[in-house]
Symmetry: C2
Subunit: 407 residues, 2 copies
């Protein structure tokens, strides 16, 4: 099946919001075995919505629209679809009652305009919206061979309705069974992953492999479709074994998790406390763990020792090492990890010192030079890196690599 | 002038990345007085790129493409454009030398494929890319009345080239003079800003007002166009004065800066050192300042005192206050700020303690309850908030509000 996504809203063309809906729907549809061929965005304009809708109706089996379901006069998505398909609009009493109820609950006056949200093209399958006033709907065309799926624009409402109603609808329409697994790969770049797995990529028809790269991480999707359910699962598992034979040491999760989640769970299971001493990452490393609920079980504390003075007074780095080797050195990194262990009493400590740039680099120690230290089981190890990128990228790569060392 | 944006890349249709480029370009083009009529996204497919390009060439004066300039065989943007316009491709020696130099700098081997990045349609205006290997270009059509602007996909490279080259090009092509100012508003929601400024919005034709909201921040753009240069400037300044009369106390910058940049500069000018004690924000507050180059001049240190033990041992919060009032309280917040001041010797300290959720809330202290303390000039003040949202939103709102208190 071929799908297209039509986002409707002048605010998108003004650049006031980013069209994250298109990415979400694409990800979910691909995982369901539906190929996405186009994303279009047009403003709240009858002719332009209509002409793009007609183009997509020719080329796609599934058309998703997002936006244009609000109460105001420029919200015209349903009217344009009805016009394009020659359908009449009718009032849906159930939706009207739900909208009225919602206004009573929030104790706000309901305007005449809100009644428009309860009108739908005839024969539409109407889907309740528990997160907002605009119900969604599905309009089938060409005797059920094609469908227009009409979703609200706000991402929370859109994803809620997709999860609750649309996923099932697509599975029924596109019964080709599908099974996917997601491997989180850290410490290896996307091109290196692809080069190493090339023999497996080359022979791909089923299962298929796809990589999604973000900073420090490559997510590898393995998908089998079109077979019996157990065969799909078996095919994915067999391919996963082949992948593990080639890049197993870099696989941090077989369920697509981020490394901070994996490390948090490792520490929880072992009832271990962790502490951090950060210079160039400025608190980002601690924050990465603490963005997860439940971090309080494992995070003892963190020091942001950005100045030399703080390194000396808070975690007992020696003045001698600072002046002899400089703040960005194996020696100071080691003393930061050791000092933090002693002061905090944590089971494992991580220290980071480096030059995030854009200033402060030298020939000997360029921008991107970073040392990471781990103090664990009375052993301190320090590691040297030269990361490439701007300040934010160097900070992010350092955080990911530090978590990988803990892992 | 009418513009359209064509994003090229199968990764967009797979939902691997969000098309933030389209929003960025739309915002900038609107600010330059160029209307954006379409966003299209297609995969790395010759026929589909070509057909969308031809549609846009009929309807738009300015066509922006993003993506498809990489070294691999599926990167075909320039070839398709050359084909559609009947132009030959030629090797640009200057670009080739720059690409070779870049590989030498990073000490990586250059592959045969990278040479493709130095080929361009004949007569293209070639634009150096200082952030990556893919140069951009501008291809004029219909005797300079239309132009295709070919940009790389990675947002950092794209925005860099836009700022450096494209803005000037458009100003020359679209000489309708324009002047904008950008006000950063913190501490007031978008709807409150719009409601307060409604009398000004209502009467808008020139200058125009537009708001862009992100977490904790509303950026207000004031634009005047179509007048003589000094008149545009005067019109914007007069409107800015009216806005300041209504919401002046919430305006943190009149040049659109983020609050962390403004606070960093305030501290630098006053030669002041700042220190942080963070519980629920887990290092994010220190990290927000330290994401800026030059933070070392003003950041003394930070404590991530996530556990009660750390609050007691590192910054001398009393056991009595912890047990009597709980870790999330005015009293503990006050002691965190005071203790941090004493331990760090900083001129100003900020403490944060709260419940970021989703767990840990109670009837008395719900999820989102946050205390922020400021110790400055021998005075400690603490503030209570109840923020709404998920864990990440609560952490982000807390960071922004803490910076606003410092401001």
């Amino acid at each position: 099946m071929k799908a297209g996504i039509l986002a409707i809203g002048t605010e998108l063309l003004m650049g006031q919001i980013v069209n994250s809906n298109a990415a979400y729907l694409s990800r979910e549809l691909n995982a369901l075995g539906v190929g996405v061929f186009y994303h279009y965005t047009v403003g709240d304009n009858y002719e332009r919505i209509e002409s793009h809708l007609k183009t997509m109706l020719k080329q796609c089996d599934l058309i998703f629209t997002t936006g244009g379901l609000g109460p105001t006069l420029d919200d015209i998505t349903k009217e344009v679809i009805a016009g394009a398909l020659g359908l009449k609009m009718h009032l849906d009493q159930h939706s009207l009652e739900r909208i009225e109820m919602r206004f009573r609950e929030f104790n706000r006056p309901m305007t005449e305009n809100n009644i428009r949200q309860a009108y739908f093209p005839e024969n539409a399958i109407i889907l309740d919206n528990d997160m907002g006033t605009a119900p969604a709907c599905i309009i089938e065309a060409e005797e059920g061979k094609k469908a227009i799926i009409v979703l609200p624009g706000p991402p929370k409402e859109m994803t809620h309705i997709f999860e609750r109603h649309i996923r099932k609808f697509i599975e029924k329409m596109n019964p080709g069974n599908i099974y996917s697994s997601f491997l989180s790969i850290y410490g290896m770049g996307e091109s290196a992953v692809e080069a190493t797995l090339m023999p497996l990529f080359d022979s791909q028809s089923n299962p298929t492999l796809a990589t999604y790269a973000s900073i420090g991480k490559v997510l590898l999707r393995v998908t089998s479709s079109g077979l019996a359910p157990e065969e799909n699962k078996h095919t994915v598992e067999a391919m996963t074994e082949k992948i593990k034979a080639l890049v197993g040491e870099y696989i941090v999760s077989e369920s697509g998790e981020e490394i901070d989640v994996v490390v948090l769970n490792q520490l929880k299971e072992r009832h271990m406390k962790i502490a951090f001493a950060e210079s160039c990452t400025g608190g980002n490393l601690a924050a990465r763990l603490i963005r997860n609920s439940g971090a309080s079980e494992v995070v003892e504390c963190g020091f942001v020792t950005y100045s030399n003075h703080a390194k000396q007074t808070l975690i007992h780095v020696s003045e001698a090492s600072l002046s002899q080797y400089g703040a960005v050195s194996h020696e100071v990194c080691r003393e930061m990890a050791e000092g933090t262990r002693k002061v905090s009493g944590a089971d494992i400590t991580v220290s980071v010192t480096g030059i995030a740039g854009p200033n402060g680099g030298s020939e000997e120690k360029p921008v991107g030079r970073v040392y990471i230290g781990i103090d664990y089981l009375d052993q301190v190890k320090t590691y040297e890196y030269t990361f490439v990128g701007d300040r934010e990228t160097i900070q992010n790569r350092t955080v990911i690599e530090a978590l990988r060392l803990v892992y």
